[in-house]
């Protein structure tokens, strides 16, 4: 009996802890807020008083998104920290290794980072009541670690002052035309979007597809900003893996750029968002995730970041076509996608003159 008592006590304690954890992960009766539901305790979130978001999104637009959240919950001060995907993830891992927990929410630009972070136990599990609006493919397995907070879409862009519409590329294979030699740009190897483009177009057109681009000696850039700058300045005529958000922003400013929607599909790469385990403001983080994944947050994000929402009930970014009007190409076998990384790096480094 004496031996049994501690065991029973430990089982009871474990059950209680598990119940408490489940309660924190999800709830039966979420509060209905303005346009979204939340399981977060708003009083506690406000007492925490802060929220730190680590992300790869542009700083000015992200501050506008967070300002909207702050306007709803003025007692929660928001702080944003931006770095390039790899640098951000390196920093996040180093911080965790050193037990310095500064981030509440993280947006990692590449699915590979999200899988790795989940494997390392970096995410706090929280099943937002808003998850129901997301297809199962758009959520982590099991639910609650990360969710596709946005879709970054890419196609082909060109300068209409240099390329008449009837001579512009119409579909992906047209970029192999030698007439674009020394006047075509792509993204550098470290871009997650470029990896997706490489992977999906190889699936569509075969493994040798990209070899035909090598003679054109494409110029590779870190960011769409440089790709579009060169396009409007006539240094390049065509940009491949051209970010749709970049096109919309440039077009709104009156820049001479046009976008091609290849009939075979536009590339779409998801942005996984999740709460960091040991977040310093866990309740505020839950509240933010509910708002962000809800229709209000997604609408605000589409407006400022010009990315698409993974929800069906959210409008496209300003000036953008409805996502139902074009086909999206996204990997379905993420394991195969991850495994293709080494081959991608080898081929892309060579194609862009890195090695």
């Amino acid at each position: 009996m004496r031996r049994l008592a501690p065991r029973v006590l430990s089982v009871v304690a474990a059950c209680l802890l598990a119940t408490a954890a489940r309660a924190a992960e999800s709830c039966a009766n979420p509060h209905q807020m303005q346009g979204f539901k939340t399981c977060a305790d708003i009083g506690t979130a406000e007492r925490e008083g802060g929220l730190v978001v680590y992300s790869t999104d542009p700083e000015a637009a992200s501050e506008s998104v967070l300002a909207e959240f702050h306007a709803l919950f003025p007692k929660i001060n928001t702080t944003y920290f931006r770095l390039q995907g790899g640098a951000l993830y390196a920093k996040l891992l180093a911080e965790r290794q050193g037990q310095a927990y500064l981030a509440d929410i993280t947006q990692l630009s590449d699915m590979s980072f999200a899988f790795d972070f989940q494997k390392r136990g970096g995410y706090m599990r929280y099943i937002s009541p808003e998850l129901a609006a997301y297809k199962p493919d758009y959520r982590s397995t099991p639910d609650g670690y990360w969710t596709w907070g946005a879709l970054v879409v890419a196609g082909i862009a060109y300068n209409p002052n240099l390329v008449p519409a009837d001579e512009a590329p119409r579909n992906w294979p047209d970029m192999m035309n030698p007439k674009w030699a020394d006047a075509i740009s792509v993204k550098v190897t470290i871009s997650g979007l470029q990896h997706t483009t490489w992977y999906m177009l190889r699936q569509l057109y075969g493994n040798d597809f990209w070899k035909n681009l090598a003679p054109s000696k494409p110029h590779a850039f870190d960011s769409y900003v440089q790709q579009f700058d060169r396009l409007v300045n006539g240094q390049d005529k065509v940009a491949v893996t051209a970010q749709y958000s970049g096109y919309l922003l440039m077009k709104a400013k009156g820049a001479p750029v046009e976008f091609v929607y290849p009939p075979d599909g536009l590339i779409a790469t998801p942005q996984p968002w999740g709460i960091v385990k040991e977040a310093p403001h866990p309740e505020a983080a839950r509240l933010f995730m509910d708002w962000f994944l809800g229709a209000p947050g997604q609408t605000v994000n589409a407006r400022f970041q010009c990315d698409y929402s993974a929800r069906d009930d959210v409008d496209p970014p300003p000036g953008g076509a409805k996502s139902s009007t074009f086909k999206l190409l996204t990997p379905t076998d993420w394991k195969a996608f991850e495994q293709s990384h080494a081959a991608y790096v080898r081929e892309w480094d060579k194609l862009t003159g890195m090695r």
């Binding site: 501050e63 700058d229 300045n233």
Partner: protein, 558 residues
């Protein structure tokens, strides 16, 4: 007792702390460079030399780096020397104003120069190339996206560093030596080459070593101008290696550490040269720094001085101002649309004001605390007989030999593993800046320390002055030009620091240079241009205020 206390305890303590600041993160880097297993496990699970061997299999990046760094160093030291000679040793109209303007390129982040020269000399449509082609030429005047273009931009901006270091030496030089040469019949050019140049050799050598090491680790120009031309150097390769997934930290660390070789060779050569001559120009004999009357030559010399200012300051700032006021960045004149919206956006960004303030706080505190500390270190290394001072110089120079992007990673791993809660605060950035700017301060002050005749200090001691009294009344006043130059250089270098800040700043300790780079990488060139101009203006105003305050406090021109 106080003398014994200082020399007996403070010196070893200082050596230990500064050595530790450099060697501790370096140890992490060395270990990581040997990591051939999972790049994200720390400590590494598998060790080997594969990362280094890979560099030999593909030496192109290293040879590219050495090529660009060598061209850029030669150009920068040449620019710096000519400008220093004109502005400190000759009398030309508007000399003081020109000297102030010479500091401007250094106020700007290197990214500004690269972006601006891309606007001016980009292939096909750069503004200068457009003007050139409008005169009937079919090809470009110059394509900036080449190794020569990268070296040109790097040299223009580092030329200011060379100028500050060399002019500090020239200001401390007894003009009677030049006058003697002239009296004996040597022309002005011959005097400059045979008298001035050898006498300022420590300053020139210090500048050359420092500039070369800066060039090896230079990132912005190679990043903006090299990548479009498919030309990669060590820093851009490191950028790619650390930002990819899985990150190749081992290769990045190996590439960064491989630059040690070049640095050790440079430092070795410098020590060899210094051993073979006496460079003392400040002796017991009284002198007043005087500039030469150059007669009719003053106008050509003034034109040369202004030429550098135009090319290094006015043209890039003009190009940047134009970009910052555009709706979208373009160099094609009919396409241009103007707006002030970029400034409005920059001012609306809530994180920008704290980033500016943090950069200023760090600049002032690191320079103010760093200069006296480095001054004492320079004195120990070049004046004392403390054993191992040569090794100490080598250790302090290490951060200059490792690209900051890599050293930043070492600092991150090192400081995050110390149970002192300073990660994510300005304290850590301050310590990191002090560590990486040790070489800058040491090289600047060393140039002047070597010029001061030890007999002056010995004389003070013989007259009964204590070590502290002698430092305060003899050594420090003589070192003043070098200390002021070091303060200015460290302040500005801190305000525009990028490589280390990327990994060490936290959400509540943001600084300005990474914010500008982030904006360029993710928002727009026109917004980045507006932010960069605001940063330049901020530094300029801060320096002007600081000099005015210094003048009031000391009652002398700073």
């Amino acid at each position: 007792m106080s003398s014994f206390g200082f020399r007996g305890w403070v010196m070893p303590l200082l050596l230990l702390v500064c050595g530790g600041l450099v060697l501790y993160p370096l140890a992490f880097l060395i270990i990581e460079s040997l990591n051939i297993g999972d790049p994200q496990s720390f400590p590494p699970e598998e060790l080997g030399l594969a990362n280094y061997l890979e560099l030999f299999e593909e030496p192109r990046v290293i040879t590219n780096t050495l090529l660009v760094a060598s061209i850029a160093t030669v150009l920068a030291v040449l620019f710096g020397f000519i400008q220093a000679w004109i502005l400190t040793r000759t009398i030309i109209p508007g000399r003081d104003r020109l000297e102030r303007l010479m500091e401007l390129p250094y106020y700007m982040t290197p990214l500004i120069g690269a972006l601006a020269w891309g606007v001016l000399l980009g292939p096909k449509t750069g503004l200068i190339n457009q003007v050139w082609q409008s005169t009937g030429w079919t090809s470009d005047f110059f394509n900036i996206y080449t190794p020569w273009g990268i070296a040109w931009v790097m040299a223009l901006f580092e030329g200011t560093v060379a100028f500050v270091m060399i002019s500090a030496s020239m200001k401390s030089m007894d003009p009677s030596l030049e006058e003697s040469s002239r009296v004996l019949g040597a022309g002005k050019l011959r005097t400059a080459l045979k008298i001035t140049l050898p006498l300022v050799a420590p300053g020139v050598l210090s500048a050359t070593i420092f500039v070369f090491s800066e060039m090896l680790g230079s990132f912005a120009a190679a990043f903006v101008l090299g990548i479009p031309g498919r030309f990669f150097v060590v820093t851009t390769a490191i950028w790619e290696a650390t930002l990819s997934f899985p990150p190749d930290y081992g290769r990045a660390a190996a590439m960064g550490l491989s630059l040690f070789g070049a640095m050790v060779l440079t430092l070795g050569c410098a020590r060899l040269i210094m051993r073979h001559g006496s460079y003392t120009t400040i002796t017991g004999k009284a002198f007043r720094p005087r500039a030469m009357e150059v007669g009719a030559m003053r106008f050509p010399l003034m034109t040369i001085a202004w030429g550098y200012i135009i090319v290094a300051v006015i043209l890039p700032l003009g190009a940047l101002l134009l970009t910052s006021m555009e709706r979208f960045a373009t160099v094609i004149i009919p396409q241009m649309q103007f707006t002030l919206a970029n400034y409005e956006t920059a001012l609306r960004m809530g994180s920008l004001a704290p980033a500016f303030a943090n950069s200023l706080i760090l600049g002032v505190s690191v320079a103010t605390l760093g200069v006296p500390t480095i001054g004492v270190l320079a004195w120990i290394i070049y004046r004392s007989r403390v054993p191992g001072r040569g090794l100490m110089e080598f250790v302090i120079m290490i951060p200059a030999a490792v690209p900051r992007l890599v050293f930043g990673l070492g600092l991150l791993w090192a400081w995050i593993n110390i149970p002192i809660p300073i990660y994510g605060t300005l304290w850590l950035l301050g310590i990191a800046y002090f560590t990486v700017f040790l070489p800058l301060g040491l090289r600047t002050i060393a140039g002047v320390v070597l010029q001061v005749d030890p007999s002056l200090e010995e004389c003070a001691r013989v007259c009964g002055a204590s070590w502290g009294y002698q430092m305060r009344t003899v050594t420090l006043p003589l070192l003043r030009p070098g200390l002021v130059a070091a303060w200015l250089l460290i302040f500005i270098a801190s305000v525009r620091e990028l490589g280390v800040s990327i990994f060490l700043m936290g959400p509540n300790s943001k600084v300005i240079a990474p914010a500008i780079v982030n904006s360029w990488l993710s928002s727009s060139s026109e917004l980045s241009a507006a932010m960069a101009l605001m940063q330049t203006a901020m530094v300029f105003v801060a320096v002007a205020i600081l000099f005015r305050v210094a003048r009031r406090v000391t009652g002398a021109p700073a």
